[in-house]
């Protein structure tokens, strides 16, 4: 029990070292080592007693002069994200099995990324959180830059610098909090607790600075500028990981750090309004942008902006129901978006294009892909029986009492979401087959496996969300009491 989280962080990293040494076995090593965190997180799930408090806490010294220590722990908010990380990485690695990426470079990068993500989701010291937060950028910078599309150089550097600046602003806010409060420790919970003791005008600035860093990563309109390039130029596995997990870092940061601070913010109503507006604008603007796209990958990229807006609505709602819905959205969106980007990758590699107008009637040639696309699209637009519905329904229903106008506007977003998905489906999947595409093969078994698993999980958690939802609910109720 002592070193559970350290092991979770270190094992993929060790795997990365091994995979870069043993070129031939890189794939197999990557798969095995990426599965370990899933196994550990499932064991934790079995054993966790009270998801509303921290368990598996580990604490070691690091820089005592500044009060920075290596402190890790999990609760009902982080555990599902660890499970999600544990699910997405092995599936992405299986998906990449036959893809032409230099194995001794690509797989170590993925494993380092997994380590860093687990670190973000478990760190309980702000500097350690920040270190892992920044560390996720390095492997992704290489993944995008080395294996990405034609404009990858531009996309890689833009992604790197855009989110780096966001993080630095956040770091400044935390410095101010640390020194003004004078508690002499970067412990996350102590810092959040000390927030209320600061002078009022400073509290507004600090809260805004920290929120800024998270919103860039989420991303929310208007700070989503890095997203289309990074999502579209990254190779499919990279896109899957960014969309499915990296965007959850921003959401996790908001829920873990900003939300508990929110009650002590002097301009509370103003900030709640800003967060709600950012949420609704992201939902609507993202949906409209998606509607206008002809590139399937871009369309899904913008749909991601739209869907992450729900998290902000949940935060602004001050209701446990809506909050647990928003948290569940993180989990559900992580599965759905992974499936969608994997599908786009298959369509592009098998047909040679991902432009909606050039894809017509591919159902005839690739029935399995078409089936999975339909499943993914319907899940993403919130069809009852799938996980997206549970998340969005809970978020909006819970938020209605406190934010009725915003919820109604968000419902318009749901409508637009349904239209762009169904419209895209109609144009790309059905209709007469575009003969210019030539002979097109359906997806192979290796790539079908991870996608089928994802669709299965989406339906499973749509019909029976309780196993994950109960963890989130425990945390959300706790947060509501706090507020």
């Amino acid at each position: 029990m002592m070193f559970t989280i350290s092991a979770m962080i270190l094992i993929p990293f060790i795997g990365a070292l091994l995979a870069s040494i043993f070129r031939g076995g890189a794939k197999a090593i990557a798969l095995v080592f990426s599965l370990v965190p899933l196994v550990i997180s499932l064991v934790m799930y079995q054993q966790i007693h009270d998801p509303s408090t921290l368990s598996y806490v580990e604490h070691y010294g690091w820089i005592s002069a500044l009060g920075i220590s290596l402190k890790f722990g999990i609760d009902g908010l982080s555990l599902p994200l660890l499970i999600l990380t544990g699910i997405v990485f092995p599936l992405t690695i299986i998906y990449s099995w036959r893809l032409p990426y230099t194995p001794q470079v690509f797989y170590p990068l993925m494993l380092v990324l997994e380590s860093a993500l687990i670190g973000v989701f478990t760190a309980l010291d702000f500097i350690i959180f920040y270190i892992f937060w920044e560390l996720t950028l390095i492997p992704l910078y290489f993944v995008i830059g080395m294996f990405g599309g034609p404009k990858r150089e531009h996309a890689a550097i833009k992604f790197f610098i855009y989110t780096h600046v966001g993080s630095l602003v956040m770091l400044l806010g935390v410095f101010a909090l640390y020194f003004e409060s004078g508690i002499g420790s970067f412990d996350l919970l102590s810092l959040i607790g000390a927030f209320a003791t600061l002078p009022t005008d400073l509290r507004n600035i600090i809260f805004a600075a920290i929120l800024f860093g998270f919103i860039v990563k989420l991303p929310s309109v208007p700070l989503h500028g890095w997203l289309p390039d990074a999502y579209c130029e990254a190779p499919t596995p990279g896109t899957v990981v960014i969309a499915s997990l990296l965007s959850k870092m921003g959401a996790y940061g908001i829920l873990r750090i900003s939300l508990p601070m929110l009650p002590a913010v002097p301009s509370l109503t103003l900030f709640v309004k800003i967060i709600a507006i950012l949420g609704v604008v992201s939902i609507l603007y993202g949906a409209f942008l998606a509607l206008a796209q002809t590139d399937l990958k871009r369309m899904i990229a913008f749909s991601s902006v739209s869907h992450m807006g729900y998290v902000l609505i949940g935060v602004a709602s001050f209701s446990a129901l809506s909050l647990s819905g928003a948290m569940f959205q993180m989990f559900s969106h992580g599965l759905i978006i992974a499936l969608l980007f994997m599908l786009v990758g298959v369509i592009q590699s098998n047909t040679g294009t991902r432009m909606i107008p050039e894809l017509s009637g591919i159902t005839n040639k690739m029935p399995i892909v078409a089936f999975l696309v339909m499943g993914g699209f319907l899940a993403s637009l919130g069809l009852p029986g799938m996980s997206g519905f549970v998340a969005e329904f809970l978020t909006l229903m819970g938020a209605y009492p406190s934010l009725p106008v915003y919820v109604l506007l968000a419902l318009v977003g749901v409508l637009i979401t349904a239209s762009y998905y169904i419209w895209a489906m109609q144009r790309a999947l059905f209709g007469p087959y575009n003969e210019n595409l030539g002979e097109v093969k359906d997806v192979g078994a290796i790539q079908m496996l991870p996608m089928a698993i994802l669709l299965g999980l989406i339906i499973l958690f749509g019909l029976h969300p309780a196993p994950i939802l109960k963890l989130f609910e425990a945390v959300a109720v706790f947060v509501e009491v706090l507020i």
Binding site: A65, L66, L135, I157, F179
Partner: protein, 487 residues
Amino acid sequence: MNIEWILSNYGVLLPEAVLTLFAFAIILIGLKYRSILGYLAFVGGVVSLGLVIMNFSVNATLLYNSLVFDPLSQFFKVVFLLVTLLTIIASLRYYHGNAHQGEYYFLLLIATVGMMFVASANDLVSLFVAFELGSIATYVLAAFDKENPRSIEAGFKYFMIGALSSAILLLGMSLIYGITGTTNFTALSQMSFEMSGYTLAALVLIIAGLGFKMALVPFHMWAPDTYQGAPTVVSAMLAAGSKKMGFVAAFKLIVLALIALRTEWYMVFAVIAVITMTYGNLVALTQRSLKRMLAYSSIAQAGYIAMALVVVSYTHVDSVVNLAMGGALFYILSHAFMKGGAFLAVGTVGYMLLRDKIKVDEDDIDNFSGLSKTAPITAFSLTVFLFALAGIPLTAGFVSKLLIFSAAIYGGLAWLAVIAILNSALSLFYYARVVKVMYWDKPKFDLKGEPTAYVVAVLLALLGTVLLGVYPGPFVDVAMKVAEVFL
């Protein structure tokens, strides 16, 4: 006057004595056996380093209080010796078979002795003499590749501007003596000054004189040309070691000796620090020569370190001063590894091109295309050094910036920290560009294997950079402890 008496009284001088002995031995032995000189210099450095570390927490003064041996001086000596050792290891390959090796290692060790005495100086006169000893040897080193016109230019420029700035520094020091009647730092630190035309002139002259060695803008003009033209192993030593001589002199003179005046300097230092980091980063953005880029990045890094001077002149709260100076010291140690390592990695590529008879500009960014395939260890290490210089976590650079930026915020200079952080983000752009070239461009030249000596030096620097980033606790504690000298 038996040996025990000497040892008990002058034992603290042993590291310098050993190094000097080895330097002269090298000159003599070099007349007959050239091939062992590098190893001999290395042994001298290691012995000296061991002696310094054994005597780390010493507290002694020597020769009528003109030399002081305290944790501060020992800390800087460790930094200087580490850099010298890295340089020697890489030089084993670069100057292998060179007819003038004897002189090279002699000068290298003598320069180090000079720098070590600067770290121990406790008097204007001893400081100046040691400063000159450390400088003059490096002028010759910069021009050591005498068949290369660029190296000659580098040495000449460095010498001219160095001589001028020494004169300026000396004038400033003589004014201080004229005002106070003493040259001793301990005595100076207890004086109360009145602000007058003389003190102002003295301050300006001293800042200018030391600013040259630290390569602070606007006294930096020599640095890019010198770092580019000098043999790369020497550039590593200049940027990572010799520059720190300026810092230790500045810390001693400004923070310790002229403590009564430092409040007046706050704005001057703030302006210099901001201009230095911003100018360095902006100009580095457009460089094609990697050595020039590293030179400008080195200027920017000096700006970050100079933030400590701003903080200690702005506030006199003990805990802030301690954090700022501790941060500066940790930064100096980290910078020795990051910058020294980066120059050595660039030098590795230059050496491989030379060895494989590929006639190009040795440090053009195009030479680094696809380096990850032709020289994977060098490419990986250079990547870590560059990310460290940009302040990416789990490297020494991150912890250094963390300490020094937080000291600025702690001291109430949040605006300075904001400027520094923006600068740090800007710098990522040019560092990442080099990484991009190395990792996702196609190899341009077919390089045949990485030279062992260079790889060893680069890997040692890499070890330092990563160790200070992953396990900084004890090193930060040491730096903070050493910084208590400034309280």
